[in-house]
């Protein structure tokens, strides 16, 4: 578990060759540390960049000429005093600077510790904290775009908006229970039903607009399928530029799927070579074919390759390709007589005939797919967040049903408090008594 009373240090940029590196320190003794490493008696000015030498603490030798920015608590990333040191590139400088910081009492931060402190100090809410954790791990640029949306609070705002409308609905209901009808204006039960329904749909929409983490296991997937010997492995090797997959003229060569990541269009795409589809008694091959079908399910783009008649393979397995983009390719046009027509490509892996036109088509398709995701989803959510949002939907539904069948506001509210708990689990919780306070703010009450 994290400890909080000490100073932590870590390299904030990626280790490796770069022009600059940023080292971050956070804690209570940041000023003391600043003075020690710069050998200066002056306090750093808040939110100001200072150019100074950093000295080795044992022999007082110069390590680097750096830029030091001091952020005064609570106006910093962590909410504590923070020092950001931009050093010149190179691992050795970084290593020496961190060593001298540690000799002054700072300690190497644990993964996520800066963010955790930011959360503890109320700088970010849980959704944002999770967004930051995700961006650090994001392995492609689409993901980081969505995580950014989480971090800058777009998701929080959206969820908060829903939570707020729930709260105000509950406030009206509580108000109705706490005061006499003669003192207040009543809401019809159908109005509650309507509002709850609206809230339900909104929440559904958030889930729909979100890219959930299981969806974002990263890259777009392209599966190459077809009958044995169609030339799947040949196409795979051609696309990836390596002789990774074994090619023979024996049917059923490929058993285990072979995968490789390549850049197509603007994105990294995963290409999968699969076992050829046919009816067989070979147990190993049957397992391989099962895997092929699994890959078809996961992939967004399917290339069906055949020696002459890719459409036939397509038609034979039509129900497997719902909601997939399919590219039909007839291979070996050096020895077989076919031409590109009706959108079916005609190529030769051996001679590379028609390959460029296939490649262009594939990269356009990949770009389109990614852009669609951009357009349709606004943020990313992890499994925890998604399941909470789903629970919220169910809770709202239950409250609504309860109200419909019993007409009893207390029953409906009892379920809604459960929903509110879920919201509180999702984002920074509200202080108790908020509803009661709202009652007084918004209504004319009292005898």
């Amino acid at each position: 578990m994290y400890v909080f009373n000490d100073d932590i240090v870590a390299l904030a940029t990626l280790p490796g060759k770069s022009a600059l590196n940023v080292i971050r320190v956070s804690g209570k003794n940041v000023i003391k540390i600043y003075r020690a490493i710069t050998l200066s008696s002056k306090k750093p000015r808040a939110n100001f960049a200072h150019v100074s030498c950093i000295y080795n603490q044992s022999d007082k030798k110069q390590i680097d000429y750096s830029l030091l920015t001091y952020f005064k608590a609570p106006k910093s990333y962590t909410g504590e005093d923070v020092l950001e040191i931009s050093t010149h590139g190179g691992n050795i400088i970084v290593k020496q600077v961190i060593e001298s910081l540690i000799s002054k009492g700072a300690r190497q931060a644990l993964p996520g510790e800066f963010t955790y402190r930011a959360y503890i100090n109320g700088k970010i809410d849980l959704l944002q904290a999770e967004g930051i954790a995700a961006i650090v791990e994001a392995n492609n640029n689409i993901d980081s775009y969505y995580h950014l949306n989480t971090i800058n609070g777009t998701l929080t705002k959206e969820v908060q908006k829903n939570k707020d409308s729930l709260m105000s609905l509950m406030t009206v209901a509580e108000h109705e229970l706490d005061f006499l009808d003669s003192e207040i204006e009543k809401k019809e039960l159908q109005e509650y039903n309507k509002s709850l329904n609206k809230l339900y749909l909104h929440t559904k929409k958030i889930i729909k607009k979100s890219l959930s983490s299981e969806q974002q296991s990263g890259n777009l997937q392209v599966a190459i399928i077809g009958r044995p010997n169609a030339g799947k492995s040949s196409l795979f090797n051609l696309l990836t530029g390596h002789q990774k997959s074994i090619i023979t003229n024996i049917k059923g060569t490929t058993r285990d799927p072979v995968e490789s990541n390549i850049d197509i269009g603007n994105h990294e795409v995963k290409i999968i070579d699969t076992a050829g589809l046919r009816t067989t008694k070979d147990v190993v091959e049957i397992k391989g074919i099962e895997k092929t079908f699994a890959h078809i399910e996961e992939a967004q783009i399917i290339i069906i390759i055949d020696e002459k008649n890719a459409s036939q393979t397509y038609l034979a397995n039509k129900n497997k390709f719902k909601q997939k983009s399919v590219i039909l390719v007839n291979n070996k046009n050096d020895i077989n007589n076919h031409k590109q027509k009706n959108g079916v490509f005609s190529i030769s892996c051996k001679k590379k005939n028609g390959f460029n036109s296939l490649l262009t088509h594939l990269s356009t398709l990949c770009n389109q797919k990614v852009d669609r995701v951009y357009k349709e989803s606004s943020f990313s959510i992890n499994v925890r967040q998604k399941s909470l949002l789903q629970k919220i939907c169910r809770g709202i539904n239950k409250a609504n049903k309860g109200l419909e069948t019993t007409g009893d506001l207390t029953i409906c509210l009892s379920s809604l408090y459960g929903v509110l708990d879920l919201y509180n689990e999702l984002i920074r919780p509200d202080a108790k008594n908020k509803i009661i306070n709202e009652i007084f703010k918004g209504f004319c009450v009292g005898k």
Binding site: R117, I120, G122, L177, L180, G402, T406, T410
Partner: protein
């Protein structure tokens, strides 16, 4: 004799808190002296002639379940009984009694005076003395000293009370009664913090000056119910009516034009008033879009010539009050018996008390009622019972008790008081409870039975009646278990909203307690699914409730805890992690930190 005195409890104040405290002590067979400034004013209703109402009736019922007197006194002096919120869920149904302000205190006085363990002393407690931070005696105004080992302060609105009517202000505890001056100083001297609050009361009108023909009648229930289980059934009273009139734009204009004559608006009153019971000037000012507000005309006692004008609480000058009211048709030539007024008083911020209502600083000192920042007779009575029970336990050197907020509104009340800063006079609302579906009036004798037995506060006659009720209930549950409707067990069948228990099980002939038990059983069954969900949801808090924070716990040493949170926790000194979590301003992450630290240092697992 001296030995005896040492074990004595003194109660300062004979209002609703003081009375219930005295009775609770007497029932446990301990001695107490009820010191009050006017022995003729014991149990007086300072403001409105009503007991119960939304949120509050639940408290009256709970006091009744603990052997208190409020419910019975209201039943005996009621002019009108009405169940409010009847169109809403049963958990929020609330009984309200319009009571006779003369009969109510007379009934209470009679009972108090009969109790041999209670002695009444007319006088004023000026100060108290301590030894090793323990109460040892109190000094009375006339100069004598009473030795005692416990003191319960129930001084109501009397501590440095200051009445305001327009620009005029004068010292008083209530209209016509002197304030209490010394006690505040004594509290301050013992390092106990005080604050200031205010409340208001509407004018009393001369009955014959009202044109009743244009007022709308507001009758009571056709079949009146009563609060107390101990009141004999069938409960019969002659229901009197209240009447309703509405303010109009002219009334509002006059108030608006003279708003600076209200000391609250001119900043003369420093105390904070309740938002839920705003003065008429407050309503007109804050809700200027409303062209009218309802006013209720309530009799103060049977055939009383003075009428309480519910809804017109004010501290405007008498002249303006009159002028504004005379704009209303029914009040064209209205006259006052007494104008409305506001009163400011000292209160003792209750975070300084533990959930037993005993001071955290001074052993043996208890505070109950309005002095703890609450408002209302019912809130005062509820605290009185708790302070009484605990003062009795204290002098017997037994462990003090507290009430669980998941089991009673009394628990909600005291937990709220001891964990959250008071921002305005506190009154009960059902929305303050987390498990409202369970905290109902109809199951109160089940919820609090164990507490009542544990504290031993029931008279033998009360215990007998409670037992009878429980017997009726268990008979009903047995019958339900045996009954089927078609193939469906009755218990399951009853969960359908439209099904009524009476269509399947009739009450024993003539037994009215049976009918009430049937209602309770039906409600419990209908709500059972939802109550189970509520319980599950609250399990997490339940768990935190069980984690005690050791006395020697040092918040300053918790790494990562913000200074503001540390300060809050050190002021309140919560006894459990659950309590800590409810302190306004404490965040869940703070609780997580406390948990980690408790686990590391004290090996307590939250």
């Amino acid at each position: 004799m001296l030995e005896n005195n040492k074990k004595k409890i003194v109660i300062a104040g004979g209002g609703h808190a003081g009375v219930e405290a005295a009775l609770a002590i007497a029932r446990t067979k301990q001695k107490c002296v009820l010191v009050t400034m006017d022995s003729g004013a014991i149990g007086r209703l300072s403001c409105n002639p009503a007991i119960g109402g939304l949120g509050k009736s639940h408290l009256v019922k709970e006091v009744d379940a603990l052997g208190g007197i409020m419910g019975a006194a209201a039943d005996q002096s009621s002019l009108q009984m009405k169940t409010l919120n009847k169109t809403k869920g049963r958990a929020v149904w609330a009984l309200r009694a319009q009571v006779d302000k003369k009969k109510y205190p007379a009934f209470v006085s009679k009972i108090i005076k009969k109790e041999k363990y209670i002695s009444i002393l007319e006088g004023e407690v000026l100060s108290f003395n301590t030894k090793n931070e323990k109460i040892v005696s109190v000094n009375l105004k006339e100069g004598s000293t009473l030795s005692c080992s416990s003191l319960i302060i129930t001084s109501g609105t009397f501590l440095n009370g200051l009445i305001h009517i327009g620009e005029r202000s004068f010292s008083a505890g209530r209209m016509g009664e002197a304030p209490s001056r010394g006690l505040s100083e004594s509290l301050l001297n013992h390092d106990i913090k005080l604050g200031r609050l205010k409340t208001g009361t509407p004018p009393r009108l001369v009955r014959d000056s009202i044109n009743w023909s244009v007022a709308v009648e507001a009758p009571g229930d056709e079949i009146p119910s009563c609060f107390s289980l101990y009141t004999s059934r069938p409960y019969k009273i002659k229901q009197e009516s209240c009447f309703l009139v509405n303010t109009n734009q002219n009334t509002h204009n006059i108030i608006n034009n003279n708003i600076e004559s209200s000391p609250m608006f001119s900043g003369k009153i420093s105390g904070v008033g309740p938002r839920y019971c705003p003065s008429i000037e407050d309503k007109v000012f804050r809700f200027s879009e409303r062209s009218s507000h309802p006013l209720f005309l309530e009799p103060e006692w049977k055939n009383s010539h003075q009428i309480y004008l519910n809804g017109f609480s004010t501290s405007l000058s008498e002249k303006v009050q009159l002028k504004a009211l005379r704009q209303i048709e029914a009040f064209k030539s209205v006259e006052f018996v007494r104008p409305g007024y506001a009163i400011e008083y000292d209160y003792c911020p209750p975070y300084q008390l533990s959930p037993s209502l005993m001071s955290k600083k001074i052993s043996g000192l208890f505070c109950a009622g309005q002095i703890n920042g609450t408002s209302g007779y019912e809130e005062a009575a509820a605290q009185g019972v708790v302070a009484g029970i605990n003062a009795s336990l204290y002098i017997q050197k037994k462990d003090l008790v507290s009430f669980d907020r998941q089991n009673s509104y009394i628990g909600v009340l005291i937990d709220d008081l001891t964990t959250s800063p008071i921002e305005e006079p506190y009154r009960m609302f059902t929305s303050r409870a987390e498990n409202r579906l369970y905290l109902r009036a109809d199951n109160v004798y089940e919820r609090l039975y164990n507490s009542a037995l544990g504290a031993d506060v029931l008279l033998s006659s009360q215990l007998r009646i409670q037992k009878k009720f429980h017997k009726a209930l268990s008979d009903i549950y047995n019958k339900i278990k045996k009954t089927r409707v078609g193939n469906t067990p009755l218990e399951k069948f009853l969960k359908r909203p439209e099904v009524k228990i009476l269509d399947h099980i009739g009450p024993n002939k003539g037994s009215l307690i049976d009918a009430e038990a049937l209602f309770s059983a039906e409600t419990s069954i209908k709500y059972s699914g939802y109550i189970k969900n509520e319980k599950e949801r609250l399990l997490k808090t339940r768990r935190l409730e069980l984690v005690r924070i050791p006395k020697e716990f040092d918040y300053k040493k918790i790494p990562g805890l913000s200074n503001e949170s540390k300060e809050l926790l050190i002021t309140v000194l919560p006894e459990t992690v659950g309590q800590a979590s409810r302190i306004a301003g404490i965040r869940p992450t703070d609780i997580a930190l406390i948990g980690i630290y408790l686990n590391n240092k004290f090996h307590v697992k939250p």
